[in-house]
Structure formats: C-alpha cells, structure tokens
C-alpha cells in the first residue's frame, strides 16, 4: 500500500497541527468542567432542596441535549443574541466544558457518596463548617476516588471535541475527513487519526493513573492494582 503510506506521511504534519487544536479544546473544557463539576456534585450530595433541584436540572439539561445541538444553540444562537463575539475555538471550549461539568459532577457525586458518613460527622464535631469539612475532608478523598472516572471523561472530550467542527475549528477528525475525501485513502487515514487519538489518550490516562497511584491512601482499599 505505498499510496496509503504516502498519503499518511503527506497528511501527518497537517493532522499533528490539528492535534494542537484538539488538545487546547480538551484542556480548556476539562478545567472548566472540573471547576463547575465539583460544586455541582457537592450541591447534589449536600445541598438543600432548592440547590439540589437546580443542580439536577443543570445536569439533566446538559446531559440530555446533544453537544451538537448545544453548539448550535450557543454559537449560532445565544452568543449571537447577547452580542458575545467569541471565536469558534473559545465557544467550543465553553460549550464542551459546561457539558462536561454535568458528567463530571456525577463522577464526583458517586465518589462523595461512597464515603461513610462518620468522617463528615467527625469533621463537624471538630467545629468545621460545611465548607471546610467538605473541602478539607470529603473532597480530598472523593477526588482521589474520582480519578478513574475522570480519565473516562478526559478521553471522551478528547474525541467529542471533533463535533466542534460544525463551528469550523478544524481539529484532528475534520482534517482527517478533508484528506480522505481528497485522496480516497479512508481506512489508512482513519487509522492514523485513531493512532493520534490513542497517543493523546494514552498520555493523559497514564498521567492520571500515575496520579492515582501517587495519592493512593496506604492500606485503605482492597484493590491495589
């Protein structure tokens, strides 16, 4: 298949450039998702009935509506309406980040709720207010337990960022389409894209696995693997 190999070599710099766009979107969206996801999870686990309901609605909406539709609604609709002239790249980060927050909140909530109640009690008994108890006792443990789920979310956004092409941000996948349409080397090019994604995922997941091991609490869990 010399043709396909030539096509791949030809396309590689172009695709690599796209992976920078992809990485930018992912990092932005993960950070945004984390900073919204944690408060959402806390609201769901410990909030009063109103906060909890609001958080539930947020999660329901952002998990319920396809990202593609959200991109359309925000980029062509809302942002235009309020005169917010954001680039496609920034818009993609915002929409993907807000969406990811909904998913991330469920991961954190699961972790928060797997901690026995006694520790929160102990924290309160020492006079900690809810905020301190949650930030210094609950979250440090819950976030540790969330790392595997978080790595899922990372690898999902990494690939979901491809939908951002409806706004015109040409990341890895869109670029792959372009080259494939021109050269008719679909399979080899998709394989190349898959390998690129795989490498990006692999690095991220490895880093998170490393983090997971590093912050593991000695003697705590059954599972040390």
């Amino acid at each position: 298949m010399p043709d396909s190999i030539e096509a791949i070599i030809q396309a590689l710099p172009y695709l690599l450039e796209g992976s920078l766009t992809t990485a930018g979107i992912v990092i932005g969206a993960m950070i945004l998702g984390l900073s919204f996801g944690v408060p959402l999870a806390v609201a769901q686990a410990y909030g009063g009935s109103v906060t909890r309901r609001l958080a539930n609605i947020y999660v329901w909406f952002f998990r319920g509506v396809p990202v593609l539709v959200l991109l359309f609604l925000f980029y062509f609709g809302l942002f235009n309406l309020i005169g917010l002239n954001l680039s496609a790249f920034t818009s993609a980060i915002i929409v993907l980040g807000l969406t990811s927050a909904a998913y991330q909140s469920q991961i954190f909530r699961g972790a928060i709720q797997s901690l026995p109640h006694g520790q929160l009690k102990a924290a309160k008994a020492l006079g900690m207010n809810e905020f301190t108890a949650i930030t210094s006792i609950i979250l440090p443990q819950a976030l540790r337990l969330s790392i595997p789920g978080w790595s899922n979310e990372y690898s999902i956004i990494l690939k979901d960022s491809a939908v951002a092409f409806v706004l015109g941000t040409a990341e890895i996948m869109a670029r792959t389409h372009f080259v494939a349409s021109r050269t008719y080397e679909h399979l080899p090019l998709y394989m190349t894209a898959a390998v690129l994604y795989f490498i990006l995922t692999w690095f991220g997941v490895r880093a998170l696995l490393h983090l997971e091991r590093k912050v593991r609490i000695p003697g705590y869990a059954v599972h040390q693997g």
Partner: protein, 222 residues
Amino acid sequence: MEFAPFLTEQIIPAFNRGLGNSMLLIVPSAIMGVVLGILAGTARAFGGPVLSRLAAWYAALFRGTPLVAQLFIWYFGLPNLGIYLSAYWASVIGFGMCSGAYHSEYIRGGLLSIRRGQLLAAQSLGFSTASTLRSIIIPQAFRRALPGCGNEIIYLIKYSSLAYIITFIELTGEAKILATRYFEFTEVFLVVGAYYLALVSLATWGLRVLERRLHIPGFGRT
C-alpha cells in the same frame, strides 16, 4: 415553510421510525457494555498479571480511539478480513465494546473505594476470590460506580447517533436527512433535541430509581 404540517407530516413520522431503530441499538449495547465493564473492571483490579494486563489494554484501546474510527473498522475494515457485519451488528458490537471499556474504568473507581476489611471478612468466612468478588465486592463497587455508569449510558444514548455514519439510520440520521434537505436546522434539531432529551430523561429517571433502590444506609444521601 409552515412549521406545523412540516412537523406532523415529515418530522414526527421519520423520527418515530428513527426512535425505534435507536432503541434497537441502545438496549442491547447498554447491556453488553455493563457486563463487559464489570468483567474488565474487575479483571483490571483483581485479575492476575496476565488478565489485568489484557483488560487494561482493552480499556486503553477502546477508550483511546474515536468511536467513529471503531465503527469504521467494524464496518468498513473487517471486510478486508472477509468478515461482513451488517450495519446493525457492527453498531451494536461497536457500541457495546466501547461502552464496556468506559464502564470498566468507573467500576475500577468503585472498587477503589471498598475498604480492605470487606475483603478480609469475606475471605475469613472461606469465600473463594471469585465469590468474594461476586457477592461482596462487586455489589458494593457497582453501587458506588452507578452515577458514573449512568454517564456512560447517557453517552451511549447520544452516541448511538453515530450509527448513521455506517448507514444505520436512526434518530439523528433521520434528522440529518430532513435538515439538510429542507434547511430547517433550528426546527429539526429542536425536535430531535427534544427526542433525545426525552430518552435521556427516561434514563436519568431510571438510574435515579435504581440508585434509590440500591441505597445503603450510612452511605450516600444524608
């Protein structure tokens, strides 16, 4: 274009047809995903060196590559090996395998939160490793992983739309056909959005009921 007749004559019939097809995809692949996820997640945490390595590679491979690429390989790639899957089966297998990889990670997260004491107690009663996992560890880990697994099920509902790329026309496929034909993007996508929202709401509700039924006093809700 008038919206009302467009809605009732074009959108709704097409979407209802698509919805049926979507369900045919989602339900079997969700089940396959959960089962694979529990197996792979457990294997990663407790399988010996070989099994855990294998499971880790499975998870890395299927999480590491885009679902579209996986679908392409199941559908357009396997014919190179003389294996011809129908669009439907290529989709179900593709979704199930991918979903399982994600579930496995949530399950592993759940396993991390189980204290050693639970394992010790079971083993002291003579449980074999397999039955310790089956009766004691996994039931607890699954409960704790459930919110995460819920994410994956909802992703699956939404990703089921990718099946149109390998020619299995479900809800999104019908929507794209209508939208590109009539250029009524807003209308069509609002309606398709409503359909997905309904599906996801159903799933969210089901998951919440499940979570509540599986709730253990002393954990979770205060």
